[in-house]
Amino acid sequence: MRSSSAAIRGQATAGDGAGLPADAGAGARSVVEAKGLGLTFQTSDGPVRALADVDLSIGRGEFVSFIGPSGCGKTTFLRVIADLEQPTAGSITVNGMTPQEARRRRAYGYVFQAPALYPWRTIEKNIALPLEIMGIGRAEQQERIARVLELVDLKGFGNKFPWQLSGGMQQRASIARALAFDADLLLMDEPFGALDEIVRDHLNEQLLKLWERTTKTICFVTHSIPEAVYLSTKIVVMSPRPGRVTDIIDSTLPKERPLDIRESPEFLKIAHRVREGLRAGHSYE
């Protein structure tokens, strides 16, 4: 076990080295830059270390998945990027600013685990919510709503209420809402976790197409290995107690990814390495 995990780390550094020049070509400035990042929650049972010594650099246009067992801090890390949690150690910048500045400038769209649509607003009005808050004019609101509804394949459902839509459609609506104000960074926290396999496959495929078309940077939290491997250009494997990064894998899969790429040897090789990384994380306990 130990020798194999050591081998993985050896491979990881080699992979990183090989991945870097390609990244530099995709985007010169990094979107998220974390150095020695740590977060300790003070609870009534004493301090809980949610994140420890996280070093990570996410380049422009990357699709980065965070994978790990529950409690490994992947959601917490996403929330730190979004300025929904405050780190207690280390430093982090988003677009070269503090997370708070980035949030104030509406640098990112956030998709939560649940759709979090407001039930008293129609889908259209839900998508309009961030636009209203950001003071965008009515005509442009309509234009953007129409555009993002088409992007997530929900054309014609604009004046339905959330409860009239299926779970998958609701989650797509929440993605449309995050896309509506055109932030370059999309933070997605297990957006498809509650959906069944078939719907999930379909949404993964759509998300990938969307990413190709919009050239956004996406940070995607998941605990599904196939999902992470299928979607990502970079996979960050994390382990719990305290949450830290155990492996960073740059995907060698081509940008064009039909669903059946998941049966290719290349895909299985990466999936295997992710699984080994997850196992190695567990052996620390």
Partner: protein, 309 residues
């Protein structure tokens, strides 16, 4: 398979009136009403009999059971008036007299209703404002709620005359002192309901607002207020009913000038039990209409918000 067809057709056929009466709520409700009226008549005979027997004994006259029942149900000042006496009294004081007359139940009902509505309106606004303060201000959260609860532990019957007297002393009279007693009762459920309602948005819905870096006003109007509306209407249903109680209680110490409370007081002064019961039923009817009106508004708002399914 063919034999099943006629049976399969049955549910689509419109049920007959008889079937709907038996299958629906009408028959059970009517049964309960009839049973209650029968019980009422039985108690009226039982409770009014001693006085009637006393009368017979003093007059030294013979009596039959039929005579006893007839007489107990038609006394002038019965212990418990019979239903038909109350109905007759209500008819007499609503239909037979002009609504502006002081003997009209409509007149007294309107007096009470107007101060109920004023008190309810003030109470609702006050309740909402206090709830907004409690939810947004930590100091108010810690300090106001205990006082709000304490205010409701004082019996309204004890504090109502004080309010009337004090307000009269500073020159306030007429509808406002009574309305303020309604307010005193009705703001409470609104505060409690609205605090819960304004805090009802889920963490994820609040986080969403934070990711948009929305201001406090935007969070309130776009999230907290719409989330709280269902709670507001539920509270208002309770509030409007106790507003009526407050208005009636507020009329008792005014010297019984006008209003259903005055009617009740005058009735008890002169032993007019029929008049008391008629006023009670009028109050109950007003309360029912008010609660239904709030319920109707509730339904309308939910429908507009797309939450009625």
């Amino acid at each position: 398979m063919v034999a099943v067809d006629p049976v399969a057709n049955l549910p689509t056929a419109r049920p007959t009136l008889g079937a709907r009466l038996v299958g629906g709520k009408t028959v059970p409700i009517l049964t309960v009403v009839v049973a209650l009226v029968a019980l009422w008549y039985a108690f009226a005979v039982y409770l009014n009999a001693p006085w009637q027997l006393d009368r017979y004994a003093k007059a030294e006259r013979e009596w039959t059971a039929a005579e006893l029942v007839r007489d107990t149900l038609n006394q002038e000042r019965p212990v418990l008036p019979s239903p038909h006496q109350v109905v007759a009294e209500i008819w007499k004081t609503t239909v037979d007299v002009r609504p502006t007359s002081k003997r009209s139940l409509v007149y007294h009902g309107w007096v009470t209703l107007s101060s109920t509505l004023l008190g309810f309106a003030i109470g609702t606004v006050l309740g909402i404002l206090l709830a907004v303060g409690i939810v947004h201000n930590r100091a108010m959260d810690k300090s106001v709620m205990p006082w709000v609860i304490a205010s409701q532990t004082i019996p309204i019957l004890a504090i109502a005359p004080m309010i009337i007297v004090v307000l009269n002393a500073i020159g306030l009279s007429g509808i406002l002192p009574k309305a303020l007693i309604s307010t005193y009762l009705s703001f409470f459920p609104v505060v409690v309901g609205m605090v819960k309602g304004l805090r009802s948005p889920e963490a994820i819905q609040l986080d969403l607002m934070r990711t948009y870096s929305a201001g406090a006003g935007q969070v309130f109007w776009k999230l907290r207020w719409p989330s709280a509306l269902p709670y507001l209407f539920t509270s208002m249903k309770v509030a409007v009913a106790i507003s009526l109680v407050g208005a009636i209680v507020g009329e008792l110490p005014t010297g019984a000038v006008a209003g259903l409370g005055a009617r009740l007081l005058a009735g008890s002064y002169y032993g007019q039990t029929v008049q008391i019961w008629a006023a009670l039923f009028a109050a109950a009817a007003i309360a029912a209409v008010l609660v239904m009106a709030v319920g109707f508004a509730h339904g309308l708002v939910l429908k507009r918000m797309g939450m009625a399914r």
